[in-house]
Assembly symmetry: C2
Homo-oligomer: 303 residues x 2
């Protein structure tokens, strides 16, 4: 019934860390990326090229990029909000794919990137065009697609209209992000169905936060509805500096645990991910939100 | 597509509390039951009638029953493992329904109730017969239906055969319990489909633990597969004294949040449940696992 495999994007180095108060060293960020690759990650959101005053944790974007492993089989994604960020990302010579963000509501678009929602669609389209001109690929995520921390419910028709407008820029995919973790599986199935009907040639990626415990339910529903790529963060870290109450991304290891056991391939190694969770927890000096890393292994290893 | 409503069973007073090291007072247990009723719960697992040396937290079973609110519209369930427990529950005069437990593996059956798996089926059948003789209803839960802490994977055919055997005792429903939280949505859909095909006249209840983050995904999948009743515990408390690594039940308030927003009715009031979580957290002097009670309200209340 279900698909045999999906693709995952590891977002811990960017979305996982961006909201952390304690500065993570460039060494640790590079080590985290190395661990993700060792666990099988082949698409990784490595950093964002944004104003370091707004997001201090990402101030070392260029330094991280300079130390990315030379891997032809890994796609490194840099998140950018505008042409200036896109130029910085391209300038590194190490970013394979630009990730743009369009926001579904004006209030959140203003808080997140000082634009209207429509302005954020125009900016994303420009970013994707810049990627193409530089010989890179570009993709876009529609933030607050399932609800806005300021405006509340977000009409599905609004998100579909944004997807139609963004599709004209020819992104490799469109992401639907539940930035504040308010989505539910019925909403997920409905919105993905509508977006796929509106732009059938564009693959759908999903990005869920587990703020209210529904993260994995939404992932499962999204895959059933035809999403082909899932964002997740090792450890379940995450949050948004501009979205009050946003909490962790779905944890990569929890998603992989569920999908492994359900027979859906991800290309990732659960034991390596759990080890990465424990390593990252030691770096952060706290227990991370991901749950499978705190539970006994099942089935128990045969000695 | 989805069902319009499901039934929930509140299990916090029994499964939620049974593994707590600190003794909860009878006053607080009765208050918890009162809060569940105020939130709309109409089936509540109020206690278990087991050996107080094995499960000290449930030693006040008779005292709790003596103080249950007189409510013709609420079904009070007492969990029992054998004829002795059934007789105690019936003797209180306040238990409406006996809940029996059959265990899918011999090793866990032995640890949980000193029986073989087959012995636990016979015991459950006897308990249900005693319920009928006393003018009560009886139901049964198949524990470790999705995996065993000792034996690992559990064959679906074994659970189906148990359901067929148990159906002869005419329980009001058969529960499928993921006692240690290792289920995944594909397994859930498959097993429920097989059980429904084998005993189509018996409603299926599900009981999930969120040990590895998959709890709500399993609930959603189970409802889609035709389960009509869902166990959950206010606060997401829970565990099993005889199942190493078992962690909390799915949280009632998280399940209700997801289902409310997905348009599936439960008859429960989310705000009351969140208040009950906060009250219970104060009683236990810690933050409880349930997540929606720790997140901002969405949509934000209109002032």
């Amino acid at each position: 019934m279900y698909t045999e495999s999906i693709e995952m994007v590891e977002v811990a180095p960017r979305d996982g860390l961006q909201n952390e108060k304690t500065m993570i060293s460039t060494d640790d960020k590079v080590a985290l990326i190395g661990r993700a690759i060792a666990a099988g990650a082949r698409r990784i959101e490595v950093t964002s090229f944004v104003n370091p005053k707004a997001v201090p944790q990402m101030a070392d974007a260029e330094a991280v990029c300079a130390r990315l492993p030379q891997r032809a089989d890994v796609t490194y994604i840099g998140l950018v909000m505008n042409a200036r960020g896109a130029a910085r990302a391209i300038e590194t010579g190490r970013i394979d794919q630009l990730g743009a963000v369009s926001v579904a509501t004006d209030t959140f678009a203003k808080a997140n990137q000082g634009q209207t929602s429509q302005g954020s669609v125009a900016a994303a389209s420009e970013i994707i065009a810049m990627a193409h001109q530089a010989g890179k690929t570009g993709q876009v995520t529609i933030a607050a697609a399932f609800g806005c921390p300021f405006e509340g419910e977000v009409a599905q028709a609004r998100v579909v209209a944004m997807a139609e407008a963004l599709a004209k820029a020819d992104p490799v995919e469109i992401g639907l992000a539940d930035t504040i973790g308010v989505g539910n599986p019925a909403h997920v199935v409905s919105l993905i169905g509508k977006v796929r009907a509106a732009v059938p040639h564009i693959p759908v990626r999903v990005h869920f936060h587990n703020t209210r415990g529904t993260g994995l339910a939404n992932v499962w529903a999204a895959i059933g509805a035809g999403a082909v790529t899932v964002d997740a963060a090792i450890g379940g870290l995450g949050g948004c500096p501009f979205a009050p109450g946003a909490a962790g991304n779905v944890s990569t290891e929890d998603v992989v645990y569920m999908l492994d056991r359900a027979g859906v391939g991800t290309g990732l190694d659960l034991a390596e991910l759990i080890a990465a969770n424990h390593w990252l927890g030691a770096v952060m000096d706290r227990t991370l939100p991901g749950m499978v890393a705190r539970a006994p292994r099942f089935p128990a290893p045969k000695d």
